[in-house]
């Protein structure tokens, strides 16, 4: 996902996540990529931030930038972290690339007092439209890879994610769906509308 808000240079979901994080919090960003979100959180929220990233080149890049990042696989290495070691465990645009999304979500809720998850909504009308009329796996500006070449192996819709939250006993503190322009959809819109018009979603969760 690379929708950026004009003027800030930061990704829309990153800015939303930053809004949800309390200043000075201890934060673990899983799948932190090149560290943009961590850097943003350090700058605007003064967090004590750590990252986990699967690619070693990404990790080395982050460390050279002064971020605390370790190489690790969300599907395997989260077990090493103690319960509630962090105030927030973040998973930004990574859930769909994990092999065991349910397990990863459970780990997030265990490690952090709060979990924040952002993901592309596969229920968005444009994706439904493409699949319906082209009969082929949809490609969009934000999800440009071919089906055989994508790191994303577990797509879900907003509705799917909400039922997964129920299954792992997660309480949804704040759900936000963003339209194609990166703007939050109006609060109070029925779920089926959010699922249809939200191109991506950001969820603030905690344990029940």
């Amino acid at each position: 996902m690379d929708a950026r808000t004009p003027g800030t240079g930061s990704r829309v979901d990153h800015l939303l996540i930053a809004d949800m994080v309390e200043p000075g919090a201890r934060v673990l960003d899983i799948g932190c990529d090149t560290g943009d979100l961590l850097k943003l959180l350090e700058n605007v929220r003064d967090v004590d931030g750590r990252g986990v990233e699967i690619s070693q080149s990404g990790v080395n890049f982050c460390v050279a930038k002064g971020l605390s990042v370790v190489q690790g696989d969300a599907d395997r290495d989260l077990e090493n972290y103690p319960d509630q070691a962090f105030d927030y465990a973040l998973l930004s645009q990574t859930l769909q690339a994990t092999r065991r999304p349910k397990y990863v979500l459970e780990q997030l809720l265990r490690i952090g007092r709060y979990a924040i998850v952002s993901f592309p909504n596969f229920g968005h009308w444009r994706i439904r439209f493409k699949l319906l009329f082209n009969g082929r796996m949809p490609k969009t500006e934000n999800l440009p890879e071919d089906w055989y070449d994508t790191p994303n192996i577990h797509f879900c819709t907003i509705k799917d994610f909400i039922s997964l939250c129920e299954e792992v006993d997660a309480k949804i503190v704040k759900p936000v769906a963003l339209n194609s322009y990166g703007k939050p959809l109006r609060i109070g819109l029925p779920l089926s509308w959010q699922n249809l018009f939200g191109e991506q979603a950001v969820f603030l969760l905690t344990r029940k």
Partner: protein
Amino acid sequence: MPVSAIEEFGENEPIQLDCGHDLAPFSIAYQTYGKLNEARTNAVLICHALTGDQYAADTHPLTGKPGWWSRMIGPGKPIDTDHYFVICTNVLGGCMGSTGPASLNPETGRPYGLDFPVITIADMVRAQERLIERLGIPSLFAVVGGSMGGMQVLEWAASYPEKVFSAIPIATAARHSSQNIAFHEVGRQAVMADPDWRGGRYLEAGVRPRKGLAVARMAAHITYLSDEALHRKFGRNLQDRDCVTFGFDADFQVESYLRHQGMSFVDRFDANSYLYITRAMDYFDLAQDHGGLAQAFRKARSRFCVVSFTSDWLYPTRESREIVQALNAVAANVSFVEIESDKGHDAFLLHEPELFDAVSGFLSAAAERRGL
């Protein structure tokens, strides 16, 4: 070796060693680079590897060569002496001015030889801590080192958590593996098999076990490299000849290189120090000492940057990963960088831009946190 500063600790200030012995008096030789700031918060302790010494960033008085980490330490370099006050000590048991088996035993007036008590990595760190205290530095901004130096870094973070703001253990492990102990034993046996070793009393006899120590160094040196690096450097090239001699001269360049490494080492290193320091490394096992590796870091407050190299088979990445897992288990602040290199264990001493970027980026961020 009067070129270094030497701090002396007298009869009344003994150091308690892990073997149960009290050592006094003792001396620690050290070099410093850069300036200590007024708040005394910018000191970086550099810990040297087995065959290193305090001459990390200046000309070595015996070999005339640049310091072993002159790529890393200096003005504008990753450990920037324009900002940090760098201290590098010769370890306890060493032979470049710190008290070791070649020092005079005050009880007998003769060199200690094998009467020197067996020391551990923790003992080396205790001695360093005494020096840091003597220099009036309440806590170190960073402790940095590779290989055996990395063991000291881990020991510092575990034993003096409140005195280590940040820690960079490079190409190291929290315990010495069976394979590592095996290689060290080969080296020690080579030294002790040399007739000139004389039960460790060679200094009084005016001889030195040069051949034994050279063989020890040759064997160890192979473990510091990688097959790829050796192949790249030497292949099966012959040394100053067109065909093999069907004898045992150094026909191959790699043989001649190893012989040179061995012989130049004996001029700057004491054989008994080699025995004691390899033993200290063999005994190192942070998990056993603290009832579990995560337990060892329970009180750690430092920011860690663990570094390994892909082709290091002496301290492979999986051993660094164990350290990282233990640190994660106590929610410590840790970074972990594995650097792609074909240069083997020695990569930490060589030109590795990714290593320099990681160290410099990590230290800059830590400096910001400490308000330097």
